[in-house]
């Protein structure tokens, strides 16, 4: 910054005007269509507002108090936590195993990785439709194959059975995101110095030992990022629900994210929905911060 300072030592109004030209449009759009609605949304958490009428009665913290008594919300929280646990296991650990295996492959690595990454470039609607086909009770591929193999009794209504639909949603999310998280791990794996592998080889370490003593400790940065991202993915689960079960059967697959949308947009209780999303927003941020802190502290110095 030294040269420009020397060239233009004094304050010039024209300079500020140029700065406004540079960031003005972005700031205006951002303020008008992100900040303003967000602030409005949060402000309405203190009101009883349908979202469409102009009058919104001030109710203080009543919306927040109601959150505590909301049975449907409790159910949504349970379901969301269940999904999040599965998703974190798949994306933080499953993806790690896959990445380590892919890293060991010498041939066709681009092809292999490309295969696993591919679902990630598809639209949520596409993967949802494909999975709805696989899971369909009468005509779906899974059941057709099971019946063809003589396992008629194994055929299930994967999407309609309240006991199974959670795993259906999980399979859909996992299929979409696995390649993405694997890629993040692979980038990290390739940053491990070869010397470590060579040292391990000299010590006669097998693949399992290499994984435990070299790769796993060195993968901590990616593990941190991936588990935080996976947790956020799980806790904010929304679009996958919207394009498949829409909370059903009954309210079985209502996630917190979808419940916010359902209350605010479909049930016309925007004030209540705003209070809920404010709480969720803070909670997710806290979980992420705690997670980063915990995982970072355990970083190993080799």
């Amino acid at each position: 910054m030294t040269t420009p300072t020397r060239l233009r030592p004094t304050f010039r109004p024209a300079e500020s005007l140029v700065s406004v030209f540079f960031c003005g449009p972005a700031v205006v759009l951002y303020l008008g269509f992100v900040v303003l609605p967000a602030v409005m949304g949060f402000a309405y958490s203190l009101r009883n507002w349908t979202g469409w009428s102009l009058d919104a009665e001030f109710v203080g913290l009543a919306n927040f108090a109601e959150l505590l008594r909301d049975e449907r919300l409790a159910q949504a929280i349970r379901f969301t936590v269940f999904e999040t646990v599965l998703i974190v296991l798949a994306f933080a650990l499953g993806a790690m195993v896959l990445a380590v295996l892919l890293d060991r492959a010498r041939r066709m690595r681009a092809l292999l990785q490309g295969l696993f990454f591919y679902p990630y470039v598809l639209s949520v609607l596409v993967s949802a439709l494909l999975f709805q086909y696989l899971a369909n009770y009468r005509e779906g591929l899974v059941n057709v194959l099971l019946r063809a193999a003589g396992l008629e009794s194994w055929a299930q209504d994967w999407m309609g059975d309240p006991a199974l639909v959670g795993y259906f949603i999980f399979a859909l999310v996992a299929w979409t995101g696995l390649g993405f998280f694997t890629t993040l791990y692979m980038a990290n794996l390739q940053a491990i110095p070869v010397e470590y592998y060579e040292a391990a080889q000299l010590d006669g370490a097998g693949p399992v030992s290499v994984f435990r003593n070299v790769q796993f400790p060195m993968l901590r940065p990616a593990l941190t990022v991936n588990s935080v991202l996976a947790t956020i993915t799980g806790l904010n689960l929304f679009s996958h629900i919207m394009v498949t079960t829409q909370g059903g059967p009954g309210y079985r697959t209502m996630t917190i994210g979808y419940y916010v949308y359902w209350q605010g947009v479909l049930n016309n209780r925007q004030g209540y929905s705003a209070a809920l999303s404010l709480v969720v927003f803070v909670a997710v941020a806290l979980v992420a911060i705690v997670q980063v802190a915990l995982l970072r502290r355990r970083t190993v110095d080799l």
Binding site: P37, V121, L122, E139, P221
Partner: protein, 345 residues
Amino acid sequence: MRGLGANRGQRSAPAGRTDDTEGTPSPRVRGAKSGAPPAPLSLGRGAGGGGAGGSVATLVSGRKRRARTSGGKRRWATLPLEVALLVLGAIFVAPCVLALLNTFKTLHEIIESPLAPPKYLNLDNLEYLFASVKLLAPMRNSVLMCVAVIGSLITLAPMAAYSIVRRRMATGRFLELAFLAGLTVPFQIIIVPLLQEFRLLGIQFTYFSLWLHYVSWGLPLCIFIYSRFLSTIPKELEEAAAIDGCGPIATFWRIVFPLLKPCTATVIIFWGLWIWNDFVQAYVFMGSMRGQLAFVQLWRFLSDQYVKNWNYIFAGVVVLSAPVTILYLVMQRSFVKGLTAGAYR
């Protein structure tokens, strides 16, 4: 992935090595990319590589040596693993292949023998999609929307990032934080207030309102990506231009903007894919009645059907995924890079 594999050695190279296909100006950005917590990585590398220039050669040749000395027997040692992974990967993408096959079959054939290849190239489903569902116009609209949004993002975001990073504004730091905060706003909370706002402006359920939403929603991440990139490129060029009498705006467009090309490529891929594939936001802001973007149209058509016409579902899925798939096959590396760029925010 080939790209990252080739980078193994270069990754630990001391500054100055640029990999042109890689795009980002080498190690610093990569370091920043591979971690919210970059410390453990660089620490490990420093300790292992012994630092300094010599380590590059050792690393690269070490890698090669490992591969070369492993000899004939070793070279085949990983073959079972590779085959197993290939089978696994094939199963993984099998639903997509199945969709492609079933696009050319009748509903009856799909239900009776889902795995059989089509008997002949039956184009009825595709014809129905284009003739009766009229999928072509929505696809064109989606492309136009992509162009409009990306065009706005790749002009507004670098300009804002430039003013934040380079121009000595009193509000620069504040603006940076304000935009960063935008990354944490949950989508659900802005839906209804934003719809309300659009209604007051008289633009509810229009392409313009959706464009406004896409651009303003995309700006924070784009500005973040551009600022991070900008702070890694030296400012001597700009200073030279300033000395030669180039005004600030001309300096930006002629000197800085071309330097940001790799970043712009990332933004184009990321948002192009996002907007083309988007269903949820388009559905919310354009409504199901007026929504004429590709995936909204498909959704509308499918939800009007009382039975599951898998043949149309598969055909629709294939048609709308085809552009993305073709681009992905052609430039897998750029896709992977562009899509993972937003991960470490």
